[in-house]
Each structure stands twice: as C-alpha cells, then as structure tokens.
Symmetry: C2
Subunit: 182 residues, 2 copies
DNA sequence: TGGTGAGTAGACCGAATGGTCTATCTACGA
DNA sequence: TCGTAGATAGACCATTCGGTCTACTCACCA
C-alpha cells in the first residue's frame, strides 16, 4: 500500500488523488480516514522515504568499511549508482520543497529534519576523521550531494557523482591525517 | 506583461492560467493568440529568464575584473547575493525540470540549452586559466552552482555560497598558474 | 466615415481536481 | 448468531483546470 503510493509519487507531488488510489488499489474513503487528506498522505510518504533514504546513507557507509574517509567517499559512489538507475528522476525532497508552495505544509518540516539527520551522519564521520571544521565540512558535503542529485536529474548522460567525489576528497583533506592541508 | 508573468511564475510552474491573467491584467484571448496556450507561455518565460540569468552570469564575471580566476569566483559571490534576496525561492530551471512531467515539453530543451551556454561560459574562463581539464572542471563548477541554489532554497539561514566558493577555489587550482597542484 | 486589426471582458465547455457521502461487503469476537 | 470495525466501490459535490468562444471597445488610417 505505502509502496504503491510511493511509486505513484515518484511521478511528482502534483498527481491526482484518483491516480494514487487506482495505483494502490485502495478505496477513496480509506485514504481520508488514515491520512486525513492528500497533504497527510504526502507528508507520510515523505516521512517514510526519508527514513529509507537515511538508511541508504548508512548502508552505503557501512558497506564502505570502517575507515571514515572511505565511508564518506562511499556515499558518493552510492549516489552515482542511484543516479544511474533508470527510475531516477531527481531528488524527491528538493522537488517537494520546490513544488509545495504553501510554506506551512508539514512536509517542509519532515524534509528539514531529514536533512539535519543526514548532516549529522556526515558530521559524525568527519569528527571521526578529526576534521578541523566538521560542521562546515558537512555543509559542503551536503551541497555536493544536492548538486549531484540536481545535475543527475537534468543531465542524464553526464556522471556528476565522480566529479563530486573528487571535490569531496578535497574537503576531507589529505589522506594522511597528520599532514592535512587546511 | 512578461514581467508580471514572471512574477507569478515564481510561485511555481503549476499556477493557474487565471491567476496569470489577473496578475498581468491581460485578457484570456490575448494569451492564447500570442503563445498558443499555457505551455507556450511557460516556454517563453523560461527562454526569457534564461537569457536574463545568462546575462547575470556575464555581468557577475565582468564586475569581477579581468583575471579569469577572480571572474569565476565572482560568480559564487554573485550567487550568494542572489540567494540572500528575500524573493529567492530556488532555481527556477531545476524546479521546472522536476515539475514538468512531460519529457516532450519544449521547456526542457530551453533549459538544456541554457545550461550548456552557462557551461561554455565557465569553460571559456577555465581555458583562459590554462586549466588542464576545462570541460570537466566546468561540470564541477556547475555542480557547485546547482548545489548552492538547491541548499539556498531549502535552508534559508545557512550561507552555502561561501562554502561553494571555497570548493571552487580548489577546482581552479593553485592561485599561481605555474605551480598548479593537479 | 467607415473599416480593420488588436485588445478586453467574460460566458462557457468538458475534464479533472480534492473531498464527502451512502451503501455494501467481510472478517472477527462475544 | 449477531454486532461491530474496517475496508471497498462509487455516486456526488463544489471548485478549478486549460482552452474556446462571442461580443464589445478602441486606436489607427484611408
């Protein structure tokens, strides 16, 4: 049920309720009883996929081993794979943020909190690395992530994750911790 | 007339025709005679603002002087100002790209060409700098631009342009051309 | 003076929107 | 066996969507 809604939502936040219901094989009434309306559904979908994507970051780092440096760069390798997937249509959260005109929509809060969690995830690894400015560097990494997803959405042929990874390496500094440049 | 439409379009690509007409004080018929419909209007708005924004890049570089390095970094200083503007609501083209579900919409082509022109603008300066990989570096700079605009749209309080500028400096390499690191 | 082109105002259309409604079906527990 | 909770199907509602239409106004020019 949730899965079908997500699938439908990947076609954009502006789809019709009817299309959602048909795709999920769900009665109209059920939707309104469970989520209170379309906005509630959207919010819940965002919350759910935010949890999944956060787990994706964690899994990408876990798969990259124990070295924090490898773990952070592994995130960009993972992003590269995500972008290559044929279903990829850009960052869901950025699209929602731009499409949800109402600034009071609860979805905005969900997205904000999600980004903070990812930021903290990155910052933790940077502290592990003894990076001198972990918070600032996490900001920069997140900027690279956003840029990668944005470019990946517009130019499907190019491979932005590799370029972003190079820049991430520079943020992380010299591979040998004792001689970090900045 | 075009100005009023643009203003209204900053509220999203999904606004109603009626709202557009009212904001521009234009009769319904005029719109359909001039642009053939909503899609034509959107395309024309994209085309127009793409030209304006391209001029914005050029002006930002011109204002930064003659040194290609300064000119490229000036782009990020300019982006920082753009983001700070209270009307800023994210990159118009990214929003359109994500919102225009129909892949055959002529707006996609307008956006693609606009990005290519900006890319070429950046690449030209990189060649001026004797950068070893001007095309690749331009890709990376564009990624930083997209990331900056994306982060600026979501987190209004943070100031992503400064972090992006630092990364841009690394792309450009050592300030002294003869001793470039990579 | 009369005609023409371009604009405006706004009624109107079918389709689709988000949301509420009733009626029906079904599974489960007392 | 009956009652209830929760699901379904789908009619229905007002509103809005993008788009077409007619009727009218106004400036310009021969």
């Amino acid at each position: 049920m949730e899965a079908a809604k997500e699938l439908t939502y990947k076609q954009g936040v502006g789809v019709g309720v009817d299309a959602l219901l048909k795709a999920a094989n769900v009665a109209r009434r059920s939707l309104y009883e469970h989520f209170g309306g379309k906005d509630g559904l959207i919010t819940e979908v965002l919350r759910l996929s935010a949890a999944e994507d956060e787990a994706g970051y964690q899994e990408a780092m876990r798969a990259a081993g124990d070295d924090p440096r490898r773990r952070l760069l592994g995130v960009f390798d993972w992003l590269g794979e995500v972008i290559e997937e044929p279903e990829f249509r850009g960052c869901r959260y950025l699209a929602a943020e731009l499409a949800l005109a109402d600034p009071d929509h609860p979805g905005h809060d969900v997205i904000r909190r999600y980004r903070e969690r990812v930021h903290d995830l990155l910052e933790r690894e940077l502290r592990e690395l003894d990076h001198p400015q972990p918070a600032h560097a996490a900001d920069q990494l997140l900027l690279l992530v956003d840029g990668t997803l944005a470019v990946g959405a517009i130019r499907r042929d190019t491979h932005p994750a590799a370029g972003a990874r190079q820049l991430a390496e520079q943020i992380l500094g010299d591979p040998r911790p004792s001689t970090r440049r900045s």
